[in-house]
């Protein structure tokens, strides 16, 4: 117990150093072992040894499930960016301690499901039990079980929720048809949520994950709709003349930001989840679009071309205190603040290519994270960990979704196939 506590404290202390990393990590070509300048202390990730996952009873189903759980938990820990993940026999050399993860699976007395699963987190090599969880998953709950435990391990390491149970909504298709799809954060579990033979774009999750607001032409002209993720039921929120675009659910879920043109120029509005207008926030003869809440729910960032080119601005929720955020670049759009408030990500267009930029909300530490090999990269959206970003890029031909790790600078591809995937939104 005391050891576990000591480990947790140590792990948290290490994690506190994370924000210092990006520059260093980049300079060293993405190596995971990094020297913090002033202390010369090496470390950053916790070593996690994926140990035995054994079927105690239950035959083949239990054996396969044990292997599957091991694979998914290991992958979750790897994707969190917080761990060096190794197999049995993995020899941690860089850390004074490390963790081991083990599991057992038991079959029911008759039939295959539900199984009884025990997942354990231990110290290594002295094998003190830090965390143990028991689950009884049905056949379709194996992935969720693994994700849930991975999140527990992350919470143990950094004290905050992991992203293993999050999902990404996006628009897939081309021509006259684009539909809203959802995929698990690890690329599994792809499902389609609309099928109305028209354009459906720009999804955004409600904070509780129960609804997805999206812009659709299903009524003949553009409107904002919301679908229930559990039932697939769709309801119109607002369909004013002109644009009904770029909805962003407030952190408390009680209202949305949207851009409406209502027969004039697009302006930013706050509306209720029932589609009633609460307040108009901007008044200008220019284009005002892409509103996105700050995590404090009191401010927002949006795009205006009132200066002659699209640029980013901050504003408070009453429409006052407007200030310009970007002065670099002739075309900046699609800004979004990270959930921890530490970063703003947006798209910038240089000549013909659109790229993803990450910088501090004050404008410091600006860096273009996609180089020209990424061709057009658009529509960044933050994971709730404030560390991972999903965006769309057509680097391989059709636009596909990719995930960027702001701390380490690495990328991974999230969606595959020939149809274009655009406007991703990470769940909260």
């Amino acid at each position: 117990m005391t050891l576990a506590f000591a480990l947790r404290t140590a792990a948290r202390a290490l994690v506190l150093l994370l924000p210092l990393l990006p520059a260093v990590a980049q300079a060293q070509g993405g190596r995971t072992e990094v020297n913090i300048q002033h202390t010369q202390q090496a470390v950053l990730k916790t070593d996690a040894r994926m140990g035995d996952f054994r079927a105690l009873t239950g035959g083949r189903t239990a054996q396969e499930t044990a292997a599957k759980l091991r694979q998914i938990v290991g992958n979750d820990l790897l994707l969190s960016g917080l761990f060096n993940v190794g197999g049995p026999g993995y020899k941690p050399e860089t850390l004074p301690f490390s963790w081991a993860i083990e599991g057992t699976v038991e079959g029911p007395a008759s039939g295959d499901w539900p199984l009884t699963v025990n997942l354990n987190l231990l110290t290594w090599p002295d094998r003190q039990l830090v965390l143990t969880k028991r689950y009884r998953p049905a056949e379709d709950q194996v992935r969720t079980t693994a994700h849930h435990f991975a999140n527990e391990v992350v919470r143990m390491a950094v004290g905050s929720e992991g992203i293993a149970l999050t999902r990404v909504a996006f628009s897939r298709g081309q021509g006259n048809r684009r539909d809203i799809y959802v995929v698990d954060y690890d690329g599994e579990g792809l499902i389609r949520l609309t099928a109305n033979r028209t354009l459906n774009l720009c999804p955004d999750w409600s904070p509780d994950g129960e609804k997805i607001a999206f812009t659709s032409y299903r009524g003949g002209q553009q409107g904002l709709y919301a679908l229930e993720t559990a039932t697939g039921q769709v309801r119109q929120l607002i369909a004013q003349d002109g644009l009904n675009l770029g909805a962003d659910w407030s952190p408390d879920g009680r209202e949305l930001l949207i851009s409406l043109s209502r027969g004039g120029d697009p302006e930013i509005y706050r509306i209720t989840p029932e589609g009633q207008i609460i307040k108009r926030l901007t008044v200008s003869p220019a284009i005002e679009i892409s509103p996105s809440w700050a995590p404090n729910g009191r401010e927002l960032v949006f795009t205006s071309d009132s200066s002659g080119t699209p640029q980013l601005y901050m504003l408070d929720k009453e429409g006052a205190g407007k200030r310009r955020l970007t002065f670099e670049g002739k075309y900046n759009d699609s800004a979004t603040l990270s959930p921890n408030g530490e970063w703003v990500a947006y798209a910038t267009r240089e000549d013909v290519v659109t790229q993803i930029v990450v910088m501090r909300p004050g404008g410091e530490e600006r860096r273009v994270v996609t180089d020209l090999s990424w061709r057009n990269s658009e529509d960044p959206s933050w994971a709730p960990d404030g560390r991972h970003l999903v965006f769309a890029s057509d680097r391989s031909g059709a636009s596909k979704l990719y995930v960027f790790d702001v701390v380490e600078g690495g990328f991974r591809q999230l969606t595959f196939g020939n149809e274009p995937d655009i406007t991703p939104a990470w769940s909260h």
Partner: protein
């Protein structure tokens, strides 16, 4: 007032209808004059035709035609632009003349090339559609006959990735609503 005029109008229309039916009936009547007379439909002279609806169509059936079929042309824009150049204004002047005569309701849809972001292009496309709509209205086309929408970069006319294709995609397109 209405009661006085409506029956008279109805009588006139019925007469016109009968006359027309009689006329078409005659002209189609069998072999005598025949040039090529391909398909011989048994002529239905019987109908007492109380409904004089299909009579009138003098010009094209606008409501069922694609606007390009009666001379309406799309207009094109510069990169990141939504203002009209001379060529665009010329096209719109012709369009206005046709639309005033046709009295048909159309959708003006704004389109953009693939460069730039999805959302800004939707806004830019709407600006393009509106600049075309506003110019048509200034030339006397009833504002109520022109609806506006934007597809941004979502429905390209040309799918290549060079200026020739991009130029095709920066347009205000006229379509049936």
């Amino acid at each position: 007032m209405r009661n006085a005029t409506t029956p008279r109008l109805a009588v006139v229309l019925v007469l016109v209808a009968l006359a027309l039916v009689a006329f078409t009936g005659c002209s189609k009547k069998p072999p005598v004059v025949t040039e090529t007379a391909p398909v011989e439909q048994p002529v239905e002279v019987v109908k007492p035709a109380p409904k004089p609806e299909p009579v009138v169509p003098k010009g094209p059936d606008y409501a069922n035609l694609d606007p390009s079929q009666y001379g309406i042309e799309d207009v094109f824009y510069g990169y990141d632009k939504y203002d009209l150049d001379d060529a665009a204004m010329g096209v719109l002047t012709t369009n206005a003349r046709i639309l005033k005569e046709a009295g048909v309701t159309l959708m003006v849809a704004g389109h953009c090339d693939e460069r730039g972001t999805i959302e800004y292009n939707l806004a830019l496309g709407e600006k393009r559609a509106k600049s075309a709509r506003d110019y048509l209205v200034s030339l006397g086309v009833p504002a109520g006959n022109l609806r506006v929408t934007s597809y941004g970069e979502s429905r390209p006319f040309a799918t290549g990735h060079g200026e020739a294709d991009w130029a095709q995609n920066r347009r205000a397109h006229f379509e049936r609503p």
